[in-house]
Symmetry: C2
Subunit: 558 residues, 2 copies
């Protein structure tokens, strides 16, 4: 029986998009095939209805080895999702997944890329439904859930497919090797090269960005010939269950085993990720989450290639600016977006205690902090706008840290609760800004550890040189997903670059407009560097895909 989706058809549909993606990662110019504006998608109401139809029901994926049903997601906006998902018996599920791998390997890099692009295209067509699912698991406001959870996540998935594809075709499928031997006949061999997968990739999802952080690993492993088992965060299953469902549908239509992509959901408190991570069938792990579990995976899942994104302490060095208002409004937005619940949100703002220079004269440390607090207040003064920017606190731990912030230091900007018009139980809070003296040991304990959520520290330092040294120490010891800097001095700029090159951190300089330090664009920006303690991998580069497969050569005498 021929597959409904032939490779020829898929190439016709998607090869052009893949080629554009390959070109974009080479030039690093702006590009995306997936529109980011909700109005570009016709299915707003159908999407909402499709989301609502899932609630209170069993999400049956027709997977092998399901031994019970589990679930229990509660939206940060206060509603119970009531969806039940399959819990796996690994001894049945994992062998069933492996059974499809040989045919998937034999399909080759291009056919696999095309299937991945079809999966992404179908996910893209359902972006409204996904947006509601991301919103009601991560707590992101709708627009952010739509963009970051939809087209931006799809971009990152496509980027991973592009890298995976190009990595696999660096050697030809066949080669003739003819070595001259002087007057004797040449030596001659026919060689074939086959990209072979490691087995099964395990994707361990996070609570805040289930699709954005999940897609790179999922698509990189799948495109390199592996099966993929998705183990979502127990509070953010639905967006990844939808993803797995689409992937299984496309794989089956294209004539491959749908079990190449499966979902595994924890029983409450089970710690299923630990069990799965140590299984010999698991050859690759992609993880986003706490440093403690990321370090555990790196140390213990020795049979697998482990890619981790963990915690870090992101820093902005404020030295001087020629656009003071622009700097303040840019920083205010960065601190507010999704209530600071991004792994890229700045935490420590290092400001010289003698103040900074601006285009309209010097500003003292106290003035800068007060002006920033006022900028945040202004940005979030209107509740509708505040709700649209902040979203809801993703879980009670974030709220606990926010509530504890006044005990850490002098509060320059207090957090306030914002009422949500549609969801009275949503916990919506504006960010807190706390003043700390960088020279005081008790302050150091606070600013040298990650305080995930809407709490930032305005750290008074002796000088910009002092700030650069603290930045260096912070990145080296704690890691950083992002570093920001504001300066009008070429020397300070070079100093910031030197620290970021030596400690391996991604640097944004003098952002005063509509690009923020906590946002990266696929095909152009790297997310993380892979070279400091915050993450051992970057999205996306050759290193992210190169070890997910191996090249096996067969040579024959010609």
């Amino acid at each position: 029986m021929p597959a409904d989706l032939s490779t020829v058809l898929l190439i016709e549909r998607h090869r052009g998009t893949l080629d554009k993606a390959l070109e974009a990662v080479r030039t690093r110019e702006f590009w995306s095939p997936y529109p980011e504006h909700p109005k570009a998608y016709a299915d707003a109401e159908e999407g909402r209805a499709a989301f609502e139809a899932l609630l209170g029901n069993r999400f049956d994926l027709d997977q092998p080895g399901t031994d019970e049903w589990t679930g229990g997601e509660r939206s940060p906006y206060g509603i119970e999702l009531g969806v039940e998902y399959p819990h796996p018996d690994p001894d049945v599920l994992l062998p069933a997944m492996r059974a499809g791998v040989a045919a998937w390997r034999d399909a080759g890099p291009e056919a696999r890329a095309m299937v991945c692009l079809e999966i992404l295209a179908r996910i893209n067509a359902r972006t409204h439904q996904f947006a509601h699912a991301v919103m009601h698991t991560s707590g992101q406001a709708f627009t952010m859930a739509f963009q970051a959870g939809g087209p931006h996540a799809q971009d990152r998935g496509l980027e991973a497919v592009a890298y995976a594809y190009v990595e696999q075709i660096r050697v030809p499928e066949n080669a003739e090797w003819i070595k001259p031997q002087g007057k004797r006949d040449p030596l001659s061999l026919r060689k074939t090269f086959t990209a072979v997968p490691r087995g099964i990739g395990l994707v361990i999802g996070c609570n805040t960005f289930p699709t954005w952080n999940g897609y790179p690993g999922l698509f990189a492993s799948l495109a390199t010939g592996n099966a993929v088992l998705v183990k979502p965060h127990p509070r953010a299953v639905l967006p990844l269950a939808l993803t797995v469902s689409v992937a299984r549908e496309v794989l089956a239509e294209a004539g491959y085993s749908p079990d190449l992509v499966c979902l595994a959901v924890d029983r409450p408190g089970e710690g299923l990720a630990k069990t799965l991570a140590l299984r010999p069938e698991i050859g690759i792990i992609d993880y986003t989450g706490s440093t403690a579990f990321g370090d555990w995976l790196e140390a213990n899942a020795r049979q697998a290639q482990v890619f981790t994104e963990k915690a870090g302490v992101n820093t902005v060095v404020v030295d001087s600016t020629d656009d003071y208002r622009g700097m303040l409004s840019n920083l205010a937005f960065s601190l507010s977006l999704y209530s600071g619940q991004m792994c890229t949100t700045p935490q420590n703002l290092l400001i010289p205690r003698d103040g900074i220079t601006t285009e309209s004269g010097p500003r003292t440390y106290d003035e800068v902090v007060a002006d920033l607090a006022a900028a945040v207040d202004g940005l979030l003064g209107d509740d509708a706008r505040a709700n649209a920017l902040l979203g809801a606190l993703v879980n009670p731990e974030v709220k606990e840290r926010l509530d504890a912030a006044p005990g850490i230091g002098e509060v320059a900007l207090a957090s306030r609760a914002v009422a949500h018009p549609d969801f009275p139980d949503a916990v919506v809070r504006t960010p807190a800004l706390v003043k700390l003296d960088g020279a005081k040991p008790d302050a150091e304990a606070a600013y040298m550890s990650e305080c995930f959520g809407p709490v930032s520290f305005a750290v008074a330092v002796d000088s910009t040189a002092d700030a650069l040294e603290l930045l260096r120490r912070t990145v080296r010891e704690k890691g950083a997903m992002t570093v920001g800097g504001y300066t009008t001095s070429a020397e300070v700029e070079r100093g910031l670059e030197e620290v970021c090159w030596e400690e391996c951190a991604q640097l944004s300089l003098n952002l005063t407009g509509g690009v923020y330090v906590n946002q990266t664009a696929a095909f152009s920006d790297f997310h993380g560097s892979g070279g400091n303690p915050a993450a051992n991998a970057a999205l996306c580069d050759g290193a992210f895909v190169a070890t997910r497969f191996r090249m096996v050569e067969v040579r024959r005498q010609a």
Copy 2:
């Protein structure tokens, strides 16, 4: 003071070679810039004299942090080398090495590649000297020491430089990113991308192939901007000391710190590699040697990217052939070359106990084994030829294993001592071939572990299907650098391919001429796969270079 070797000059000299190497790794066709025939090099006598001039002297590299002098190499051909090398104080040496890294990073990928090619060119010009150094540390016969230790090692070094270069230029140095915003002004960023090194790469050399196994890691790390500390095997220091000396000379002439490449030699019994491997300055480790220490490095040197080549059990499946004589002579050569002291030498020959089919009728298991023994005898019957093929046993442990071989099973071919005309103390031995019954548990203990040296096992199996299953189990549990197969059956061929794809091993089929299973050619063949227990890396692919550096992005508002 301008450097004697400008980048412009080096580009003029070497860019063409780099481009040809890049083309070769894409096409996998035969190519090498370094002639392999000794007659292609004019310096035979000068090379020997230059080698002899080193003996009995201190090898002073003018390195910082040398706290004493150490050495004690004795040639497998029986002469004491009497060379003394620097022993480092890591607290002085490692910071001195790091001091040169920023300027080396700033040089960029192309300038670094050119410096590496100049180092290789100067090593190539001294191939005769290197050949004697390799011969008198590894025990290889002169021609092999010349070729494998000279041009073939240089090929592998150049291959690593080519991969490192291309990996670093996958993103542009600069990019303009302009994102349309409908009617508003577009968002616009200027971005720079810099390949930044991990710090210092540690190369831990082996006894048998100091240059061939050492150059890929050395040049891959250096070309990606790292400093490189070379810690040779205590019995095979001289070829790598010469290498370090050339590298330091070229670096200094090109205006970089010579301390970017340094040598560290153990005191007897010191275990310096362990100490160095755990230093925080070491970001990369390349290791060739025992499984025990390789596993230790992977488990403990967690601050570093660890690339290991360890032990494996190489297998040849003998099912059938249409060129029986060709098969026997090819196998006889493979077992004899360098007394089987290659990580790629076949150890287990799996032969159905009911025999095999050949172009001139069936041959029983006993006949095949006897015919192979006779082929080895014929190949090595002449002592001059035997000496030219076998070389000397590299160390007493190899001789002990060979002496123990008759206790393992029925000896089909006994080892004999060969007198060396020039070196009476050389321990030269022909290989032993031992018959084992694959079904017997006590035999399994022997054939399922590596017996490094000139001992091979003719393992009787129930059938070819049985052989394939044993092959699969051997590769999965013990690893393999090489797999060979002889068959006229398309089905068996596919079965061999399937096992090698699934267990990730490199397969040579039906070699009956002048290419041997234990030899690989740079730019075309992969050495190891990185996907089975014998090695976690392959020479050379994207994975071998991609994690040796990280890409740091600096973005500025445009």
